[in-house]
């Protein structure tokens, strides 16, 4: 039984209404232009603002995890630190190496930031708040993401620096390897929803049985898929523990080593934008997008739900970064191809089983649901245990001995 | 000029550019790139005829392009692997210097 949610509609649709009001009150010939601008500008303003908030959050959070204070000089508790950072990066000298390929060196950060912004075009950040409602939205997201690899290569190659080239090669190898589990874990959701449109994927999840929403993450395949998706997303955005491309202790800073000033800030911005975008896609696919988990919470406006979930995932990213050490290259590749890839295939099989098992058995909907849930969980858990056993075979886990340090 | 003729003109220009590159460049990689351009020109024709043809609902040209993209991916992978293998053997990827067939 599905209940459509409509309370607090005014607060929910305030931005949509505002946009239509503004468009209606502009003279005729400019209406298209104003409508386009009103779609683009919020994205260009909101997500960099979120980037500023995240940098403070990250530095404070990491500081807490590592038993120190973090930035606390600019403003109360250091909350104005991003402003100081912005002033610093804007006034810093922009150094380009003499032997660098100037045109490509100049273009690389621009391409990276442009593609990072484009990815937000298909994310539904609230009810009726998708910038471009494409029929193939998920495909668009991944197609745009593919262009970032080229931008990373441009940055690494044009700098004429062995560390930057090494970093770019590592980044591309890693992004290609983890793109496959990322796409395959989304395939399960696409199979169940029967659509590639991000808006409709969220609409499918915004229904309630009793009080609980139909989020994909509440199903066994959805839970496993969500975990795999977020691991792959961490690797895709070069976040710790998958930050080998920038590994500052080995290759200094990877592909953007030769960038300074504003261009460096652009790389930083693009990295965080990618993190937001891929988290946004994870929310859209698995966490019900802008919908609330329980029907009695549906009065909270949809955009608050989306950004709340986004902030929760960002906190998760920061927590993981403060907790886990960096992987080695061979561990990274083994993990991608020997664990992630088979597990995503298992998730797809489980989603198929979910699709074809009846939801109700012998007139009892609850019993059928429980049986379906258990069978699908078994389809995921069995191969997981078997795979873990095979991968762990012959590996002795013992206390680590340190050769040079005590 | 109607849109179909425009598409055909663009695709024949692209095909010629790719052909000229494949015939004149000496790097084996660029020869492969020229072939890819020619393949893409053909794809553009398929899309154009599907879009402006009498029966777009059958999706024939459209599906052909999707298959063609898949074939191009396989072709590029195998072709570039061949070029890398040849480079490892002959220390060059210049098509006018690779003249021996004997390994």
């Amino acid at each position: 039984m599905s209940v459509a949610v409509a309370p607090a509609f005014a607060a929910d649709q305030i931005f949509v209404a505002l946009k239509y009001w503004l468009v209606l009150h502009t003279p005729g010939p400019f209406q298209t232009l104003v409508s386009i601008l009103l779609t683009i500008i919020p994205i260009i303003v909101v997500f960099p603002a979120l980037f500023a908030v995240t940098t403070v959050l990250e530095r404070k959070g990491l500081g807490r995890i590592q038993n120190r204070y973090g930035p606390n000089r600019v403003g109360p508790w250091g909350v104005f630190q991003p402003l100081a950072d912005a002033v610093k990066s804007l006034t810093k000298e922009d150094i380009v190496p003499r032997s660098a390929d100037h045109v490509v060196h100049y273009l690389a950060p621009l391409v990276l930031v442009a593609t990072a912004f484009l990815a937000f075009a298909v994310l539904p950040i609230g009810r009726n708040m998708t910038a471009v409602n494409l029929d193939a939205g998920v495909l668009f997201f991944f197609a745009i993401g593919a262009a970032t690899e080229l931008a990373v290569f441009m940055a690494g190659w044009s700098s004429r620096n062995k560390y930057s080239l090494l970093g770019a090669m590592r980044a591309i190898a890693q992004m290609i390897s983890y793109e496959i589990p990322l796409i395959l874990s989304s395939v399960a959701v696409i199979m169940i929803s029967g659509t590639l449109s991000t808006t409709r994927i969220v609409d499918e999840q915004a229904h309630y049985t009793g009080t609980v929403a139909h989020w994909n993450v509440f199903t066994p395949w959805g839970l496993a898929g969500f975990i795999l998706f977020m691991i792959a997303a961490t690797a895709e955005t070069n976040r710790s523990p998958f930050d080998l491309p920038e590994g500052e202790s080995e290759i200094i800073a990877g592909y953007f080593i030769e960038y300074s000033g504003f261009k460096f800030a652009l790389f930083f911005l693009a990295e965080y934008l990618e993190m937001f975008a891929v988290s946004g896609l994870g929310i859209t696919l698995f966490l019900g997008g802008w919908s609330s988990p329980f029907s009695f919470l549906a009065w909270i406006p949809s955009w608050i739900w989306f950004f709340g979930k986004l902030l929760a995932l960002i906190v998760g990213f920061i927590w993981v970064r403060g907790t886990l050490p960096r992987l080695r290259m061979d561990q990274l590749m083994n993990f991608a191809w020997k664990f992630m890839l088979p597990m995503t295939l298992v998730v797809i099989v489980s989603a198929g089983v979910w699709r074809f098992l009846p939801a109700g058995v012998a007139g009892s909907a609850a019993l059928g649901g429980v049986i379906r849930w258990l069978v699908c969980a078994l389809v995921v858990a069995g191969p997981y245990i078997a795979l873990a056993r095979v991968l762990e075979r012959g590996r002795k886990i013992e206390k680590r001995t340190y050769r040079y340090a005590e | 000029m109607n849109p179909l003729a425009g598409c055909l003109l663009v695709s024949s220009l692209l095909f010629s550019v790719g052909l000229a590159g494949a015939l004149t460049r000496r790097s084996a990689i660029l020869v492969l790139a020229g072939i890819e351009l020619m393949l893409n020109a053909a794809n553009l024709n398929f899309i154009a005829f599907w879009r402006f043809g009498p029966h777009p609902e059958f999706l024939t040209g459209f599906v052909f392009v999707i298959f063609s993209i898949a074939v191009a991916a396989a072709e590029a992978a195998v072709g570039l692997a061949l070029i890398v293998a040849i480079y490892r053997h002959a220390q060059t990827s210049d098509v006018s210097e690779i003249t021996e067939m004997k390994g």
Partner: protein, 181 residues
Amino acid sequence: MRMTLPFLILAILTLAGGVAAMTLRRLVHCALALSVAFAGLAALYLNLDAEFAGLAQLLVYVGAIAILIVFAILLTRGGDSDAEKSFSPAGIGGAVIALAVFAVLAWATETSGIAHPALVTPPPESAMREIGLALMQRYVLPLEVIALMLTAAMIGAVILAVRERRNPAGTESAERPGLGA
């Protein structure tokens, strides 16, 4: 019905990318220009209402093939090849042949009847659902054949590119350490 301005801009972008890819001296520049041409073509497909084909083109060509080409260039030390030797002596002949081919194609386009009648078909419903059904029902056999071919190509590429372990004496130079191999 006439050609629209976006179509013209995208066509010029695509052709400029293609020409640059075939004429630039540096191989890496060629690869980057080639990816511009691929991206332009993807945008042309989108302009022609072929949404799925355009996005697949972007995903496969820009995301995979351009990257493969770049890797191949770096693996064959093409990133720092000298500029003067990049054109073969048969350059003029090749250009003439290409021009002749273009002339024939353009003539055929101009004179054939098919390009001229004003076809005013409405934009087809290129819904994902229709494409999925077509791929799963009418074209399911080609789809399976493509899957088999991709598997074969993948195995073949790996076998070709993998470094030979046992070298006969005299070809030790093949064991030079390469980038990321």
